[in-house]
Symmetry: C2
Subunit: 274 residues, 2 copies
């Protein structure tokens, strides 16, 4: 696959994967991609814990489910959520950002019309207070996805591998992000799907619980958790299923020249395209 193709085709997969183990060859390919990421002063602060046993998956699934239930009881989370949750493809394409609610949870038929769904999303914290909905169902769905995933990848950062400079933590985080992107891109090429499971590690207390599950030393911090597995054949080939859509802001919205607000690049326009 061409690089830009992998970059554009990489998607977040929120459905179940094929019931098939990731082959050693493919796992090694993902690890080799991770290995060559850049990091400040080449400190390579990362550690990967590959999880395939159902005992560990179940422990992580339970941790995640609890975290999701608590998120749904937190008005601030729900309000922030409203800002990015889209109730229809039209709205999503129009906004050019955020996520489609239908991609996140199975929406009950009675709520699926955008005209009904939109106000529910907007006033989620209100409905939650009234006890009208909770995180039970999404928590259960996610727990199930975790338990059934062929593989989880827990990614930690070794705080002792710190580069010089006041900004060292910033550069370590960027390096971690680059490393994860390498994994996601390599996975795309192998028709391996992936999903971040961030709910499990939003809060310090949950990260500590996960550290215990993984037996991480005290100088390691959990940075990311991924669900990984082979994609259904139709997922891997088509652009029409739930998991194969996404939107992005227009280039002109996030690129400027010389200063933040200067939108035209006369100098660059004059150079001849290769």
């Amino acid at each position: 696959m061409e690089l830009l193709e992998s970059i554009i085709n990489r998607r977040t997969h929120r459905e179940s994967f094929l019931d098939e183990n990731i082959s050693t060859v493919h796992l090694n390919h993902l690890i080799e991609a991770a290995r060559w990421a850049p990091s400040p002063f080449n400190v390579q602060p990362w550690h990967l814990v590959v999880i395939t046993t159902s005992q560990k998956k179940r422990a992580i699934g339970k941790l995640t489910a609890n975290a999701i239930i608590e998120q749904f009881g937190d008005p601030e989370f729900l309000d922030d959520n409203s800002r990015w949750m889209r109730s229809s493809i039209e709205e999503w394409v129009d906004c050019e950002d955020g996520v489609l609610l239908q991609d996140q949870v199975n929406v009950p038929v009675g709520l699926s019309k955008p005209s009904v769904l939109k106000p529910v999303i907007k006033h989620a914290s209100h409905f939650s207070k009234l006890g009208k909905f909770g995180g039970g169902k999404p928590a259960e769905e996610t727990e199930n996805l975790i338990n059934c995933a062929p593989m989880l990848l827990a990614i930690s950062m070794d705080r002792n591998r710190k580069p010089p400079g006041a900004g060292h933590l910033r550069w370590m985080w960027l390096g971690m992000g680059a490393m994860i992107q390498n994994i996601l891109l390599a996975a795309t090429e192998l028709k391996i799907g992936s999903q971040f499971i961030s709910a499990a590690i939003e809060r310090t207390s949950d990260r500590e619980k996960l550290s215990k599950i993984l037996d991480l030393p005290s100088w390691h911090e959990v940075i990311s958790l991924l669900r990984i597995g082979y994609l259904e054949k139709h997922n891997a080939n088509e652009n029409t299923t739930r998991s194969f859509r996404s939107v992005r802001r227009k280039t002109t919205d996030f690129v400027s020249y010389e200063t933040y607000s200067q939108k035209k690049a006369d100098e660059i326009k004059e150079s001849s395209p290769a």
Copy 2:
């Protein structure tokens, strides 16, 4: 280029680039790669400022030079530096991490023997206190590289585009790292070299100065600064020049199974390689 090839061949380039503008087509390719990065709740918090005028480059070059000079006067920086600075290729390959001093600065001939260089690096803060060396030369070299680069890319993060959840800043940073990696990989394929210039933005005060130069709004924070340009032909093709070497830790050093310290993956070994 194959994806894994781009991932492995991507290098940090600390030498001058060809005196040739980045073409619009190529710039758009880098931007398109950035655009499709993943981000939490698809908030896409990034903004890119493309810099090609010598006025802006000079302002950033000066900011960087000052920052480097101050770094060289900071004993803590120099001590942290010693840990990751390698005095010979042999030492570097053996350590599997850190950076080669000769790749960072032009080492004076009198110091170039590893047996001389190693203790100098180790006791850098001591030598610095004695006034035996300062950041003048590296500062000047870097300033010059910045002034002569065909393009700088300043990357900022919009704090207002914050996703829900206690860990939101963490996820934003990982997304920024993924986005930058997309740019670096796309550049590799186009034989465009790149270098992070982090010295300019290690400290809050310097980031604020850079924000002023770029006229960033208050809710934006500078995250990264890249020097970008076409590579010399020999750089682009050979693996032997200063800029085309790197080392990495062995896979077994940073991958484990089920828990942090478990090194064998019996389950995975049993699955048949594809």
